[in-house]
């Protein structure tokens, strides 16, 4: 099996004032290439913490994170920046597009950090926006787009660097049910067509139903 994500004994301890909080207490997780996994659990179960660790935004207190053969848990800032740039794409609940850039520019933005020339950046952005159904919205700014459209732009942005893994944190959380379903369908299609490896964090069983496999998380450990 071609493994993209392998987390071994992940723990993460936060200091909240004077008390220590164990957000994760030994998470084990393996995701194969091309797999679509939903990470489910109630709020406070540690879903976002797992996502931050897999996304190279945070480091575990103990344990190991292997993504595409790179060990992230004791890497330096430079390695993690490079990892975020090349290996991972984020889709956020609140879309997090830059308000002053057009849809096209938002999608092209990550490529700027990898030093891709402007022309190629825009060409690739255009192609992806067409794929997510926004070929007519290239030069619109986020405020001129609906929530569903904004999330499509965000998905295109996550894909533009051709990452090994896409991490989506409640991607339908700010959308109504019908639009949310459209977004999940799009992610499903991208997963099947292009073999994109997906990890979607959600507390919604309907969203989780789109995935190949559902991993439950409760009180910082994976439920079996």
């Amino acid at each position: 099996m071609d493994v993209v994500v392998k987390a071994v004994g992940l723990t993460r301890r936060f200091k909240m004032g004077n008390t220590l909080v164990d957000a994760l207490r030994g998470v084990e997780l393996t995701i194969a290439r091309g797999e679509f996994v939903a990470l489910m659990g109630p709020s406070g179960s540690g879903k976002s913490t797992v996502l931050n660790l897999l996304g190279g935004l945070d480091r575990p207190t103990s344990g190991e994170v292997w993504i595409n053969g790179v060990e992230l848990s004791d890497s330096d800032e430079r390695t993690r920046t490079r990892y975020r740039r090349e290996q991972v794409g984020f889709v956020f609940q609140t879309f997090n597009l830059l308000p002053r850039l057009t849809a096209e520019e938002n999608v092209a933005l990550p490529l700027m950090f990898s030093g891709v020339p402007l022309k190629e950046r825009l060409a690739r952005a255009k192609k992806l926006l067409e794929r997510v159904g926004l070929g007519q919205r290239l030069t619109h700014r986020p405020t001129e787009l609906s929530g569903g459209e904004q999330q499509r732009v965000a998905i295109a942005r996550a894909l533009v660097g051709e990452p090994a893994l896409i991490l989506a944190d409640e991607p339908t959380g700010n959308l109504d049910t019908a639009i949310g379903r459209e977004i999940m369908t799009l992610l499903r299609e991208l997963n099947q067509e292009q073999g994109v490896t997906l990890l979607v964090v959600t507390h919604d069983p309907e969203v989780a139903a789109f995935a190949d496999r559902v991993v439950g998380l409760r009180d910082g450990v994976v439920e079996s």
Binding site: R84, N96, R100, L101
Partner: protein, 417 residues
């Protein structure tokens, strides 16, 4: 880049206000430096016309004491014919004119057509001396100037000719080529006549006659009854014209080292230059102070911007922006504020210079001061320097806020509302 410039537009008032600080600083500096450059140029032009390359050398005389107060002071450093030859052989010297004065006490009579008139004898043309470099030399009314090595030639003044009854231009023309006598009457009772041919008439207000240096030497030798006076006393003055101002400075230094008393406009100019540097430094400091305040303003604006855009920084970091990328983003923005302020400051400073220049000229005209010119010169290097400096001030002010932005934790930043 787009993001950086786009963000400046988000708070136009704040951006403009922080740029205004730079504008004031650059405005001050541009105005001051352009004034310095302009005035310096004006002075240089005035002096160049007067002969900055000209050096006057004097022999050095012994200090007078109570015992020698009324005697002719002894010369210790002489302007010898050898020195004249040495100067003439130099490649950085264009012209060397030695000069001899007929003593002030000597009474000289000019005899022309049987009439006699007491005159002053001058040597060479009348552009001698530094006391008033802006006065034009007397005009030639008839004939020609004395040649450098003239012998037996004389130029008479209009005033002297009029005193002898020659009032008209045609009469002056007639005098040219006539023989005259300069008669020296010594206190010891002797009288000696020196024959001259009139070669020119000049528009001078004195009763005077101009003769060449060799003749002047002969008159002086006879007056003191010392045929070898050149050997004992040397020349009275030496005028050297160097090929350039810098060469003049070099020669002045050499001659001073050899003990001569030297006068040069260059020395005067050096003093003016020194005063200008002091002035420019003072005014420049005011501008620098303004820029310091401005840079605090920019830093404040940028710190605010970092707070406001914390979430955006988090997004950029999640998308793979390195701390360096974030730093460049904010430093660029900050440098841009500096540049905008610098452009405005340069333009306003230039306009202010033009305005002040008009004002100065108007005042000078009103006061009837005969000086015209441009006192504020904004050269291209000043513009470039001002813009580079303004940008640099912006850039430096942005370093700290940018470093803060680069250090932000992406998770915290993404959570920031």
């Amino acid at each position: 880049m787009r993001t950086s410039f786009g963000n400046l537009g988000r708070h136009p008032v704040r951006t403009v206000l922080s740029a205004v600080g730079v504008t004031v600083g650059i405005l001050t500096i541009v105005t001051m430096v352009s004034l310095g450059v302009g005035v310096h140029k004006e002075i240089l032009q005035q002096f160049q016309g007067a002969g900055l390359e000209t050096i006057n050398v004097q022999p050095v005389t012994e200090e007078r004491s109570a015992y020698t107060a009324f005697a002719e002071p002894k010369r210790t450093v002489l302007i010898t014919p050898q020195l004249v030859e040495e100067m003439r052989s130099r490649s950085d010297v264009v012209e060397v004119l030695p000069r001899v004065y007929v003593p002030w006490g000597a009474t000289v009579y000019l005899e022309l057509g049987g009439e006699e008139l007491s005159v002053r004898v001058y040597v060479g043309d009348s552009t001698w001396g530094l006391s008033d470099p802006f006065t034009a030399p007397p005009q030639l009314l008839a004939g020609r100037e004395l040649t450098a090595d003239a012998e037996g030639e004389v130029i008479l003044s209009r005033e002297a000719l009029e005193a002898l009854g020659y009032d008209e231009q045609s009469e002056w023309e007639d005098v040219i080529g006539q023989e005259v006598l300069l008669v020296l009457k010594a206190p010891r009772g002797d009288t000696e006549s020196f024959p001259f041919v009139v070669v020119g008439v000049q528009d001078s207000e004195y009763w005077g006659a101009n003769i060449g240096v060799t003749d002047a030497l002969a008159l002086k030798a006879w007056w003191y009854n010392d045929p070898d006076i050149l050997l004992h006393e040397g020349y009275d003055r030496l005028r050297i014209k160097a090929s350039s101002i810098n060469d003049a400075a070099q020669i002045v230094e050499e001659l001073q080292d050899r003990g001569f008393e030297v006068e040069s406009l260059r020395l005067l100019l050096d003093n003016i230059n020194r005063a200008m540097v002091v002035l420019q430094t003072m005014l420049g400091s005011i501008g620098a102070l303004a820029l310091l305040v401005a840079s605090i303003g920019i830093a404040n604006t940028m710190v605010m911007a970092v707070y406001e855009r914390t979430r955006e920084i988090g997004i950029l970091k999640a998308l793979g922006a390195s701390p360096g990328d974030i730093r460049i983003l904010f430093v660029t923005e900050s440098a841009f504020i500096g540049l905008v302020g610098g452009v405005a400051g340069t333009i306003v400073g230039w306009l202010l210079g033009l305005g002040l220049n008009r004002l100065i000229l108007a005042v000078m005209e009103w006061q009837e001061v005969p000086v015209r010119g441009t006192f504020f010169v904004v050269s291209s290097w000043l513009v470039i320097l001002a813009l580079v400096f303004a940008t640099l001030v912006g850039l430096l002010s942005g370093l700290y806020p940018a470093a803060r932005a680069a250090r932000l934790d992406p998770i915290e930043a993404l959570r920031y509302e």
